[in-house]
Amino acid sequence: MSENPVFDRIKAEIDASPVTVFMKGTAVFPQCGFSARVVQILSHLNVPFKSVNVLEDAEIREGIKSYTNWPTIPQVYVKGEFVGGCDIVTEMFQAGELQSLMEEAGVTAKA
């Protein structure tokens, strides 16, 4: 049990799926341009993921920012590791690094 009960809830969400995205809205209905772009990139790479809608949970929305010392949403986690927000995911995607990260983590769905 950590000192912040919200951190345990966050960790449970992260551990519940190989790829977890804390975002505004849902994968089907993103409610923020940055969250929508991350959904687009992961879908393009054929990477299934679990989305957590922070707009429906104010505690997680604030807690996630101190959980990783990262001030913004969306946040992408692969196998429990924080990969980054929209900027880093986009930059890695354009550099081809995201594809290799997902393949190495074995989270890419077979087409």
């Binding site: 990262w70 001030p71 913004t72 990969v83 980054g84 900027d87 880093i88 930059e91």
Partner: protein
């Protein structure tokens, strides 16, 4: 209270004195900027750490006074 471009650059430079900072106003509302920060302090650090350093320089304004900052970082050639 939105931020001005030079205010953002000032915060970053005070934390990263050697940084070269290019700021683009994306929406003209003082809330949506793009920033490209080049500094030797990023050398050898993963991107997440580099961005965290820039966010730390903004002393908690990121996600508050400053709603969106499309950030890219680089190491001098």
């Amino acid at each position: 209270m939105p931020m001005q471009a030079d205010e953002i650059a000032g915060f970053i430079k005070s934390a990263l004195p050697d940084a070269e900072v290019i700021i683009k106003d994306l929406a003209g509302d003082g809330d949506h900027y793009a920033a490209h920060v080049t500094s030797a302090a990023f050398k050898g650090l993963p991107r997440v750490r580099q961005h965290q350093m820039v966010y730390a320089a903004l002393q908690g304004r990121m996600g508050g006074a400053l709603h969106a900052l499309a950030l890219t970082t680089a190491i001098p050639e």
